[in-house]
Symmetry: C2
């Protein structure tokens, strides 16, 4: 729905939103007229506010309180936000420094990026690691751990490692494991992990393999190895949302923390943020995770050297400092993409 507003209404709406973002308290007509040194009086502001309320952009908690922006207002505000604060040099410096200091490797960078996001925005940082399954297969290794236990190690071309302990029906000698891994490495060369999985399943059903004991055994083991483990999601700075006055209520808090504990579910919900390029903004009930809790989500994708994609962003209250958070998320996603391409 397109919202049409006169220049003045718009100016007032923006003032209200910004004041509310800053103070978390309902803002009254006189406050707007005063603080923003408007050319007109509080009475005029009142009239305009009444209009805006009718349009569904403002509500008042009760008769004699000021007005509070609705989700619709935030949406309008964000959409028409021309004056995006640029990211400051200081923030850039901090982000770069922190992401570099992290222990080498993709997970290290991502975790640190999440922390940096959180500390710069003062909300919660969120990072979804690129899905292992869409990464390109690089190598599989088998290591014999005691009798009837084989450790399968799967390496992707991004240097990600997934390992899995597999029980085998009987003891497999080392030299046979070597033959098996050679066979499989050959089979899966150049495929993504998920394609590799399909190939394995297809091969398992093929005639030629069915009667080759070693091959079918190799396929069975590797099938377990390529089965996706838990995908990784980093939530950093959870304690920070306790700073927000709107979450000081215990019941609400609990709801939120419970949501965050179900990482699998979150991941599922976040997947739809990965479809579009650029910074995505979800306000209030638009937010895929934790509906109805008055949270907003700002995300952006990042890419690794071989074009698998991950997601990073910030979760905070609907009343969020959009104008500063958006450029931070934007910059961070570019930065992370760049750092990852260096790996």
């Amino acid at each position: 729905m397109v919202v049409e507003l006169s220049a003045r209404s718009r100016q007032i709406l923006e003032a209200i939103i910004e004041d509310y973002i800053a103070t978390a308290e309902p803002v009254g007509s006189s406050a707007v007229a005063r603080r923003h040194a408007m050319t007109f009086s509080s009475a005029t502001v009142r009239n305009v506010m009444a209009n805006l309320e009718e349009m569904g952009l403002l509500t008042s908690p009760h008769t004699s309180a000021g007005r509070v922006p609705t989700e619709k207002a935030y949406r309008f505000y964000v959409d028409s936000l021309v004056g995006l604060r640029k990211i400051t040099r200081e923030e850039k410096r901090l982000l770069i420094q922190r992401c570099r200091q992290s222990g080498a490797g993709l997970p290290g960078i991502l975790k640190e990026a999440g922390r940096a996001l959180s500390s710069l925005s003062n909300y919660m940082g969120i990072v979804v690691a690129p899905s292992f399954t869409s990464d390109i297969f690089r190598q599989i290794e088998f290591i014999r751990i005691g009798t009837r236990k084989v450790l399968a190690i799967l390496v992707s071309s991004n240097g990600l490692v997934q390992n899995r302990l597999v029980d085998t029906s009987d003891d497999i000698p080392e030299h046979e494991l070597l033959v098996m891994s050679n066979y499989l490495n050959d089979l899966m060369q150049g495929l993504t992990i998920s394609q590799a999985r399909d190939r394995i399943l297809a091969e398992l059903n093929s005639e030629k393999v069915r009667f080759d004991r070693m091959m079918s055994r190799a396929l069975q083991i590797s099938e377990q190895a390529v089965t996706t483990g838990e995908e990784e999601i980093f939530l950093e700075g959870q304690a920070r949302i306790l700073d927000q006055p709107e979450f000081s209520d215990a019941a609400r808090m609990k709801e939120i923390f419970q949501t965050f504990e179900q990482k699998g579910r979150m991941l599922h919900l976040l997947s739809r943020c990965m479809n579009a390029d650029g910074v995505q903004i979800y306000i209030g009930s638009e937010t895929p995770v934790s509906h109805s809790a008055g949270m907003s989500l700002i995300t952006s994708r990042f890419t690794t050297s071989n074009n698998t994609i991950g997601l990073l962003g910030v979760i905070g209250p609907t009343r969020m400092g959009y104008s500063s958070v958006i450029p931070i998320v934007d910059y961070t996603s570019r930065l992370v993409s760049r750092l990852l391409s260096e790996i």
Copy 2:
């Protein structure tokens, strides 16, 4: 300090503690006399309570409220606790079921054990994975990832895997990597990871190696690989502590969550819980993590198949259901040890 009490004083103290654990509200003299069907009157109870207060076992929040047990009282209660509730069959069943259902492998079992601890106790579950460094070295592998990048994969005999991406000054061909890994596998055979690290450092300084380009390169790379990564600590059911009325205050909550976010620090503090065998109980200010926040910690060690040790337990408010939590922690640590020995 040893506390000596008459049988009656003791009976009353226990009644107060148990009532307070159940209700989280100060308990008065008449409540004790009534609810526990004592053979004496509330007036007598009052006299006894006055004594107990003088001994520092009780305090009253204000004049006309009931009494609340102090840390000292909990300590006494726990120490003299003969009537440890046995773990129920139902609880056993649940624990076993949940720990088994977890994905194979040590981390899977530990994570699930943490969750089970949390849901059975209704407090927070905590699990510290056995230190990788005291595990026994099993094998090292190098995989070439692009030019000048080598992925070093370190496997312990428990089937734990640590991997690290290493930058190399120049490109190393695959066949040379193979030679290197053979050399190192031989070098570190049978040692623990931390011993292996010492050996590597010693070797790096030895005369014979210093002038062998390949060997010294191998040692340099592996030195990075054996450097300990982050140790793992699982905190499960954080949301559950929000159920406790004593933590409904936002400021307190924040303090607690901030503590839990610094996992490195926690790990450090928890290390002293690993020294003794059996169930360890830390009450209030005795608790190594988060002093002064009115929390108690109950832990017990578990061991893997080759005697590396980890820690698991429960964190909750000082007012904790000790008599049921203690056997749960005890049983879980045995269970986990057993499950791990099967790996």
